[in-house]
Amino acid sequence: MAMKQVEHVQNKRVTAMPPTIQIDHTPHIYGVYALASVALTVWLARVLQKNGQVFLERVFRDDAEFAASVNRLLVVGFYLVNFGYACLHLAGKPAYDMRTAIELLSHKLGELLMVLAAMHFGNLWLFNRIRKSAQNDAPPLPASARIAPAARAEGAPA
């Protein structure tokens, strides 16, 4: 009987403990994510702008102004795509413990870095296309037919 009473008291003590306070780390994650995405995007855009300018000036030797213009447009496009993606990707599940918070942040930053990498390689591909097209004046599509060469009809009036 006495034992049962003691157990009853212990049970009461357990249930009387205050509930654990759950801290939502999501706002902190948002802050770190926003800072990191802005910093990464700006850093990569500056690297691209600096190196892209050198590259494009060499490709478009005859028109430095055009090279600078293409470079600026590419950088603006880069900013738009990356900031747009970063904003769209901000929302996430709430993180009530540090482990979940770190995993969430890591996941978000990892995805952002993959997009930045894709954009970076996309820019490299584009620069390479520009270089190739500037080096030779070959048309962008292969010829689909053959007609008489111009020399044969040179004298013909237009």
């Binding site: 296309r129 520009i130 048309p139 962008p140 599509l141 007609i147 008489a148 060469p149 020399a151 237009a158």
Partner: protein, 131 residues
Amino acid sequence: MDRYTVFYDDECGACARIKAALAALPTHLPVRYVPLRSAEGQERGRALPRFGDDLVVAHDDGRAWVGPAAFVVVLSTLWGLRLLSWVLAEEPLRPLTLGFFSWLSDNRGRLAPLLGARCEHGACSLPHPYR
């Protein structure tokens, strides 16, 4: 030296308007615009089946681009649009680009009034032979 000749339909009002606009733009390669029905057009285009039914761009060496592909080649000769033409001609944009120019060509009769042009003798409604 690369030189291109654009054979356009001079009886099609829309085509003539577009040709006039394109001919006024600066190019980085020499480009000539020659009517399809001219002596040179008939001489050079003889080997091409259904020559005269659509836009044709030809290199001096005899290579030719017909229909939507010809539009892309014309773009590539224009100053400042070469890069755009290369991007448009790359996969996955290529089918969309060719489809767009094909649509433009097919609907030149309808587009003519928008350009303030007339199509004499139904020239703008020629069937598209390269679909």
